[in-house]
């Protein structure tokens, strides 16, 4: 497939969602993404989604598969000087680096922007971190919902008059949106690098991405000390009546009304979910079931381009948009640990059997994790 990013190669250190998914979105647009892991530090998604304890468990994690399809996978030990040297060689053949390690980790391995830029001045280096690369909190750690809290989103989420709420570990909302923005910025920087021959360092703060989605609230609060926190619950300023309502079958629907109707709760309570939604839609009222994951799997029309199957039949992440009306075909399933190490080192660096054997024997490359639990 020739996509908008065909010809672009990405050195992907991305982990979990924020980093790995930015690279996945670049892959979906035609970039050649080579994901770097290490036997000593595998992508935590291989462990978080662990399904069994049998040999090869690290290659069967659904969240890892969801996020890393359409990539090739290498395992090179980042702590070994020889592994570091190989990665610097690879960087000469790449256009983009994506990483979301804690700040300083790649620098200590001699693989930070300064070192890689020296190898390849055209490199666009996307560093995605909790708080950004500067400032007093740059070394802070966070995990998904930490940033619901610190960004302001939690403060306007929750039941009316009760405590704030976070999106929680099965959503980790702030982790999900960063790649939607970062991918577009990386593409913009790639265009600039093509024109100027010079790359750049892109410093993304995930917390800032989350706060950016509350821009109008921050602006309103700054302009008026008396501005009151936007209320929680399901209402919305300027909307007459809006909430979720329980139906006769115990399931919930969300409804937005242009004119208030006190009988809506009773109307919903008297009907099953599907009937209530259909009746409201027929009256021109915006209504929808509060779907769960099983509902999403069952409704192919609704799923649209967002879910696809890989060559092994496994369900994986699709596209958040359509390009020419289409979603994507998965060209390769998520890589097993180190699956393409030899292939890529032969192809890009011209390594031969002896060199590859030496790297394997010295533990620089591997196909098994050195850890059991992460």
């Amino acid at each position: 497939m020739k996509g908008p990013l065909s010809g672009v190669r990405v050195l992907d250190f991305g982990l979990l969602t924020a980093g790995a998914n930015t690279s996945a979105m670049l892959a979906d647009l035609g970039a050649d993404v080579i994901k770097i892991e290490s036997g000593a530090y595998i992508d935590p998604f291989r462990v978080v989604g662990k399904m069994d304890d049998d040999d090869g468990w690290w290659n069967r994690s659904p969240p890892f598969r969801f996020t890393n399809r359409n990539k090739r996978g290498l395992a090179l030990n980042l702590k070994d000087p020889e592994g570091q040297r190989v990665i610097r060689e690879l960087a000469k053949h790449c256009d983009v680096v994506v990483e979301n390690f804690r700040r300083g980790v790649l620098d200590r391995a001699g693989l930070g922007y300064a070192a890689l830029e020296e190898c390849n001045p055209r490199l666009v280096f996307a560093a995605i971190s909790s708080q950004g690369d500067t400032g007093p909190e740059r070394m802070n750690v966070s995990f998904g919902s930490t940033l619901d809290a610190t960004s302001g989103i939690a403060s306007i989420t929750g039941y009316n008059g009760e405590e704030p709420r976070i999106s929680g570990m099965d959503v980790n909302y702030p982790d999900q949106i960063v790649s939607l923005f970062a991918t577009g910025i990386v593409i913009t920087a790639v265009m600039e690098a093509r024109r100027s021959g010079k790359g750049c360092f892109l410093d993304f703060s995930q917390r800032e991405v989350a706060s950016f989605t509350l821009g109008e609230e921050i602006l309103a609060a700054a302009a008026d000390p008396a501005y009151r926190l936007a209320p929680r619950d399901n209402g919305e300023a300027g909307v007459v009546q809006q909430d979720s309502y329980r139906c006769a079958d115990g399931r919930w629907i969300a409804v937005t009304l242009d004119s208030a109707d006190a009988s809506l709760a009773a109307f919903c309570a008297a009907r099953d979910r599907g009937a209530a939604v259909a009746a409201l839609l027929a009256r021109g009222i915006a209504a929808a079931p509060c779907n769960d994951g099983s509902d999403l799997l069952a409704d192919g029309a609704l799923a649209g381009a967002t879910l696809v199957r890989d060559e092994n039949g496994w369900l994986v992440k699709g596209l958040p948009y359509r390009l020419d009306g289409r979603g994507i075909t998965i060209e390769r399933a998520a890589p097993e640990l180190g699956q393409h190490t030899d292939e890529v080192l032969r192809e890009l660096l011209g390594y031969g059997d002896a060199e590859l054997a030496r790297l394997k024997d010295s533990g620089v490359t591997s196909t098994t994790p050195a850890i059991g639990e992460v």
Partner: protein
């Protein structure tokens, strides 16, 4: 000069500022000629990464606000990055100009945030002259952002400009005729099912998350289209639906349901991550499996050594007992104190801040994340700038266009 030898003629491609000299001479010159003939471009935008691109953002009259917020956000990001973004407003102005939250001046904070760095013109797209004006603009633009169902969709789809369409639903779902609200989209995409107490009603995420996530997506689609054009390829038409974006964001619901046969859902007080009160507010208790030992050292309560809490499964089974032990630790401490102490031990607890409190946040101040601008009618404004620094550079937003200017330009 773009890659692939695509020539670039600034006189042909750049919208110039709507010249102040021309303001006040409405009816004398057609909008399109004002926009295309004046070559005075602000100096700063020359050096911005998207300065060579022109984008038309079409705001038709009758569109669900949640779609407008998405298209406006995508246009704003491109404009802050230097693209020449021309917003076409319906007669009377974009209804977002009247949407909450409001500034003390009576203007909309929502509009001011979503329309920075753009220029704007009021055009009646139902009129023949409006239609012709749009056609001319599209003939010179690189991309056009518009919302479904828009009367101008057919025109947008067949113009020289690459179409970036914002819709509520996937095409397979009677997308154009189904009534839409942002809440319904959050429900449909499965996000509401994830938030709240299991026995109580589902909740939405605060803010306009469905619209904004879709706006970020549309920006990335736009960037991909521009990259394809510049590389001499035919750019793909991009279509973003809010419902697909919410499902995509909420992929763990589908992934979890497919893997185990049971969908994840809102766990409320049964969740491993909970919100607990502290001396001056609330803190989100968040930690990964690897951070559990660090959390134990932080709280330093011997009861946490109980074997029931040794594994994640055990902690989930005894979650109420676990929180009975954890919660008192927070009660007499402030959010700042908790945040600092926890980070020092590598534990990612999240102090909960309001947007107003973020104005004084040290990290945001150190990074100048909140940009100050003086707006001709709204006065001094402070708002988040694009959440990226490019070789240390931020992209300061420029003021949103006033309705008076947009009407005069018509």
């Amino acid at each position: 000069m773009g890659i692939g030898g695509v020539s670039h003629d600034p006189t042909d491609r750049d919208y110039a500022d709507i010249s102040p000299a021309l303001l006040g001479r409405r009816h004398e010159v057609a909008a399109s000629s004002i926009i295309f003939n004046d070559r005075a471009v602000p100096n700063e935008s020359q050096t911005l990464p998207l300065a060579r691109f022109t984008i038309v953002e079409v705001n038709a009259g009758q569109v669900a606000p949640c779609l407008r917020l998405a298209s406006s956000l995508a246009g704003k990001i491109a404009a802050d990055l230097g693209a020449s973004v021309l917003k076409i407003e319906p007669p009377g102005g974009d209804p977002v100009r009247r949407m909450a939250p409001m500034l003390p001046t009576g203007e909309s904070a929502l509009f001011h945030f979503l329309n920075t760095s753009k220029r704007s013109v009021v055009l009646d797209l139902d009129s023949e002259s409006g239609h012709v004006g749009l056609q001319r603009m599209l003939g010179k633009a690189d991309a056009v952002l518009f919302e479904e169902p828009a009367s101008t969709a057919a025109l947008a789809r067949t113009s020289r400009a690459t179409p970036i369409e914002i819709a509520a639903f996937p095409v397979e779902m009677d997308a154009a005729t189904r009534p839409v609200s942002e809440l319904a989209v959050q429900a449909l995409g499965g996000l509401m099912h994830m938030i709240g107490e299991p026995a109580r009603k589902p909740l939405k995420l605060g803010g306009h998350q469905a619209s904004y996530a879709a706006g970020l997506t549309a920006f990335t689609g736009l960037a991909a289209a521009l990259a394809a054009r510049e590389a001499g390829q035919r750019a793909p038409a991009v279509r973003v639906s809010l419902a697909e974006v919410v499902q995509w964001v909420n992929w763990k619901a589908a992934s979890g349901a497919a893997a185990t046969g049971t969908s994840p859902g809102r766990e409320g007080q049964k969740s491993e991550f909970q919100v607990v009160p502290c001396r001056d507010g609330h803190v989100a208790v968040v930690y990964t499996v690897t951070q559990w030992p660090a959390l134990r050292r932080l709280i330093a309560d011997p009861r946490l050594e109980d074997p029931r809490f040794a594994t994640r499964t055990g902690r989930r089974q005894h979650i109420a007992e676990l929180y009975d032990i954890l919660t008192p630790w927070f009660a007499d401490k402030t959010r700042d104190e908790i945040g600092r102490t926890a980070q020092a031990k590598g534990v990612p607890f999240g102090p909960i801040f309001t947007p107003a409190e973020l104005l004084a946040n040290e990290q945001y101040l150190a990074r100048s994340f909140l940009a100050e601008m003086t707006h001709p009618t709204a006065g001094r404004l402070l708002m988040p700038q694009l959440p990226v620094q490019w070789n240390g550079r931020s992209f300061a937003p420029r003021p949103a266009p006033s309705l008076e200017q947009a009407e005069l330009a018509a």
